[in-house]
Amino acid sequence: MKEIGAEGTERADELDAIGEVLRGNKDAFRHIVDRYKGLVVKLSLSFLGNREEAEEAAQEIFLRVYRSLHRFSLDKKLLPWLYSIAVNHLRTAYGRMRTREERTAAVEVELTASEESDPQRLVLEDYERSSLRQAVDTLPSTLREVIVLYYYQEMRIETIGAVLNIGVENVKSRLFRGRQKLRETLQKDATLESLP
């Protein structure tokens, strides 16, 4: 009950802020930026891998949100709508990152700390994460988005559906095809590596 109450208050405050912005109190948008900037930067990092690019993209995302606030239906939740604007923008931003090397080399993101204590294993994990990232980058955008949102952002399938405006079954189908392609790519790379 406490949690629902707290959520209710937060939702009311969020709607307050949106209402204020639409009535011309532009400064009220600060409330929305402060609440969601961490999430948006995190999402941008998952897509772009580079902190500087991610922060710039996150700022542009909030600008898009500000300009589109008129179109937000007050009976919907803000976060999935905000995420869908973010994903749309990140698609473009990702495409603009010039070369493949730029994209894959930019995995300097500070990830959640590994539980591994063995230094050799840490190096191996780093290498494996990098290989996975490269494989993710080869996916077509429709599959890559779902893979990033599910595995890198750890979003629920229903939320991914709301963000991308597709059905839950479609999300699951894209996850399946994404996993398959990743496995094929990584196995092929592994075979190449093992050749003399």
């Binding site: 709607l15 307050d16 209402g19 204020e20 600060r30 402060d34 007050l74």
Partner: protein, 277 residues
């Protein structure tokens, strides 16, 4: 005996001279109005597409001139149709409808005492305002009643037009009954709220809907009752936000929200802290 016009003028009184000049102005004005259509055909190469409809257009513009309806607005509708590539007979029908709307707008303004005089005619923009409200579906009687109410309060037509605008926006998002629309319009005029603030009613309605309030509760309990008791948008906002949400929210996604750091806008509205409930 020959008398020149000049000689006759010299002998006229100032009042007669003014009357003569005004009649000249009328004649000149009528001529220039009908030139609007002619100059469109002459200057716009795409007007050639509508050469077969010229006679029909001319009849419509002449009628507009007789009814003292702003022909510039009619010409703009013509240009809009031409820009959108509308076929000639559709454009003729649309212009007739536009003329009918503008005529109705003039009658409504006239009845409320805002019809202007010959020497100080009602601004085209005012006629355009009313035409747009009628085009959006606001009933003639509603617009008329609000203009009359505004005139009765010596509030001028801008407040009434702003109230019509607010109702137009509200009706775009809510299934409003005409009686409720009129009541809200009149309460807005009596409220003392600045006309620039009238437009937020649609947002108030949207906010209430998002919290599960029914249409009736929003229209009667929140909007009408608040206006009736002298309250404004801030009180409507507070009433809505303090209403418990009627459905439980779905479970939140796995992501954690950043803690709120900005003061609640309820505090901003009232200017003082409100105790947590």
């Amino acid at each position: 005996m020959k008398t020149s016009i000049t000689a006759k003028c010299r002998s006229l009184s100032p009042t007669s001279m003014i009357l003569f000049a005004s009649l000249m102005l009328m004649a000149v004005a009528s001529t220039s109005w009908s030139d609007l259509l002619g100059s469109w055909y002459a200057s716009d190469p795409r007007a050639a597409v509508y050469s077969d409809a010229r006679a029909e257009f001319s009849r419509i513009f002449s009628q507009a001139a007789r009814e003292h309806v702003p022909q510039q607005i009619l010409l703009n509708k013509l240009r809009e149709g031409e820009a959108k590539g509308v076929p000639a007979n559709t454009l003729v029908n649309s212009l007739r409808f536009e003329l009918a709307l503008l005529s109705r707008a003039k009658v409504i303004l006239g009845r409320a005492g805002f019809g202007g005089t010959f020497l100080s005619p009602v601004a085209d923009e005012t006629v355009k305002d009313v035409e747009v409200y009628l085009r959006s579906g606001l009933p003639d009687q509603l617009v008329s009643n609000l203009l009359s109410a505004s005139a009765a309060r010596h509030a001028g037509k801008q407040a009434a037009l702003a109230a019509c605008g607010a109702i137009m926006d509200l009706r775009a998002v809510a299934p409003m009954e005409d009686a409720d629309s009129l009541q809200i319009g009149k309460l807005l005029l009596a409220s003392g709220l600045p006309p620039s603030g009238y437009g937020s009613l649609a947002l108030v309605y949207g906010l209430g809907k998002s919290r599960g309030l029914s249409h009736d509760a929003l229209v009667h309990d929140i909007i009408i009752n608040t206006l009736r008791s002298g309250g404004g948008l801030a009180i409507m906002n507070r009433k809505i936000v303090s209403t418990p949400i009627s459905e439980p929210l779905p479970p939140s996604p796995a992501a954690q929200l950043v803690p709120k750091q900005h003061p609640s806008t309820r505090e901003l509205v009232s200017g003082k802290k409100i105790n947590n409930r």
